[in-house]
Symmetry: C2
Subunit: 424 residues, 2 copies
């Protein structure tokens, strides 16, 4: 494969994670080793910023800042949810794609890396295909990212381990709190975690049990398994009768047997007449308090669970970094249209490596929790899930602290001079 | 003061914190130094367990476990919300008080320490007064505890600093997340923290700004300041216009001008006809989305904020321990009916010591955020609050980790043989 000389562009997309910046650090540090890569640019707010020609010059950043990306949460380059949708908006999509290639050409971008989830890998694939079609020599690779862990082909996604670690630590701690308050009246606490269609995060909190059957969580509700209200209430009552308290984890996208999200009950409206979307945990609390009069409290971790660098997994961070490195290495070797992925070699001891998967295999395919990784009653992931998730939360990311708070890095964001007229 | 020889009983009460066990460790380790204190017992679930004669023998615990209480959240002895209420239930209160002294006498308890908040200090005071009345020689001192920070006379309460640290770290991290997602549409995220009547925790998150005016949080709503919907919406819009996003912190007990909690809107009912108590953050999100159509998400930290040892303040932990030590020292010196308190000697550099306050001054008095510690518009604590709160979150409690999760200690809880017939 002939050497391709030119500039590199890296961008981030979709919901951020605790380790998506570690992937960018991997891209940048690996790129710096290769002479064929001349300038290193960052696209602000993903595709959206590239369309606006909002590029920054990464070589203007301090080396200390680049290294700091390994322990800084959220997307340092900014992110977006912008879609290039050839099906629904073919004209706009064609216009956008054209504009992207104007920007790539204007800045001699020959290496493009996009860190993101399903949609983002799809976007990367479309750009790769367009480059081939146009005969514009550019290598386009994806870097996986999503706390939801729903990308196929990779053993797991960078971002997932840190989310599970944070949610599991929270479950251990809230469990101790509720247990120590539990007297004969009994009580229940429901912790809502992210996961609209896949229950990977909720399921991962099984690790909080630390191998003890009676430890919290006592019930885990996954979006993949239709909610059975009677069986659930029975399980809560049985748990409270035995332990005086019950900790429930619910994935936000929990659905009833009709496939409707229970947290988006259309029969309830707010004071503006809009359907109430107060969430799965609140809805479950309503059911428990209404039907069995058990004191119930809720915790909704929301964005905190994907941003909690202070409780991130070192394994996850290392893997995220390695995926960035692998995507660049593949490109320098001449590969395009692939996503870096994590391959598990063994679970105990945990051994892993990176490999590559064609983007076309990844784009828009969702990966769910297998049914046989969950107990027959559907309320608890089993040993298969534990074996899978356990290594992913190992190790702690060291975050420098100042005045009792984390000292995260912020990019200087020195703009690359624009060469094109503004986007119409 | 003549030496008082006998046994010690320590118990915990009310909502737990990240450092209430550190206070118990302080009591136990200081007690161990004094020969006049023979046996060291723990009362399970506070007053409730003492009424049931559920005592454990602390000297049966490993020294390693006692030391581990310094980094273990929740109440290792269990806690309760049991009240001895002479006003509302005089007969029951008299019966309870009698039973307590039967237990104290049966086990020769001559030193009693109660760690808790307002109600618990009131209980300790009643027990102290009863001992004096009965001529039963026993020294009864309080150890302050509450994340709410609403006890008077002490500069601040053990438990508060850790709650503020965790909520501030979360605010920094969620702020980075929302900021990096912010594009022209704008967005808002509301983080609900504890504080039914006092806004100390909400106010403390001003530290997350780390001295930069535009850093999150952008609005802090305290229960002490009546909610002004129009001014609030104006402030949100102004912030989003400038920064494209807005982070709001709300104390759960935020009230409207009529003094009603906005999170307990009686006009909304759940599917069982009960008033919806989904909380202040959900209600604010409803208002923002309904009135200015701004994408809004919520985080409700709930019990996590008082249990988050993994993000606890070392300063707070040290002070909690010192309060336990001070309560025992006072008792050994002959003092009874006092609460250990923290006295601030200077803020920068931060210097503090412990002192004592009569329980009668503390019981049932609430301490609120002074109005002149908050900006004129009521939306942001000012430099006075920052100076007060800044030192309280300094330093990190070192929690041993195993398999990626914190390794907290659990007491063996070897029961003291009961000497009385069961409670009627």
């Amino acid at each position: 494969m002939p050497e391709l000389v030119g500039n590199l562009l890296v961008a981030q997309s979709g919901g951020p994670t605790a380790v998506i910046n570690a992937s960018v650090a991997g891209v940048i540090q690996e790129a710096g080793k290769n002479e064929c890569i001349e300038e290193i640019y960052g696209g602000l707010n993903g595709i959206l910023g590239i369309l606006n020609e909002d590029l920054i010059d990464i070589n203007e950043e301090k080396a200390r800042t680049i290294a700091g990306l390994k322990y800084t949460p959220a997307a340092a380059l900014g992110t977006c949810r912008y879609k290039i949708d050839f099906k629904k908006k073919p004209e706009k999509a064609a216009w956008d794609m054209n504009r992207l290639f104007e920007v790539f050409q204007a800045h001699n971008i020959r290496y493009f890396f996009y860190a993101g989830g399903n949609d983002s890998q799809d976007t990367a694939n479309k750009i790769h295909e367009e480059a081939v079609k146009r005969g514009y020599e550019m290598r386009v690779n994806g870097v996986p990212k999503t706390i939801d862990n729903d990308l196929p082909h990779t053993d797991h996604c960078p971002g997932y381990g840190s989310a599970v670690k944070y949610c599991s630590v929270t479950t251990v701690e809230v469990g101790l709190d509720v247990a120590c308050m539990a007297t004969d009246d009994g009580s229940c606490c429901i912790i809502e975690v992210m996961g609209r269609s896949a229950g990977w995060i909720a399921g991962g909190t099984v690790l909080a049990k630390q191998g003890h059957a009676d430890n919290p969580p006592h019930i885990i509700l996954l979006p993949e398994i239709p909610f059975d209200e009677e069986a659930f209430l029975g399980k809560v009552q049985e748990t409270v009768a035995r332990l005086k308290y019950c900790i429930v984890i619910v994935g936000e996208g929990l659905k009833n047997k009709a496939g409707e999200e229970i947290g988006a009950d259309k029969s309830r409206v707010d004071s503006f007449g809009h359907p109430l979307l107060s969430g799965a945990a609140e809805k479950l609390a309503e059911i428990i308090q209404g039907r069995i009069s058990l004191k119930t409290r809720t915790v909704k971790l929301g964005y905190a669970q994907r941003a909690a660098e202070h409780c991130a997994s070192a394994t996850d961070s290392d893997e995220a970094f390695a995926c960035g490195v692998a995507a660049v290495k593949a490109a320098v070797e001449g590969k395009s249209g692939v996503m870096a992925k994590i391959v598990r070699l063994s679970s105990a001891p945990y051994k892993w490596t990176t490999d590559l998967q064609p983007l076309a295999d990844v784009a828009n395919v969702e990966h769910f929790v297998p049914r046989d990784w969950v107990s027959e009653d559907g309320f608890m992931p089993n040993e298969k899930f534990v074996e899978y998730a356990r290594p992913l939360i190992e190790g702690e990311v060291k975050v420098p602290m100042e005045g009792g708070l984390p000292k995260y890095v912020v990019l200087e964001k020195v703009r690359v001079e624009k060469k094109l007229p503004p986007r119409a």
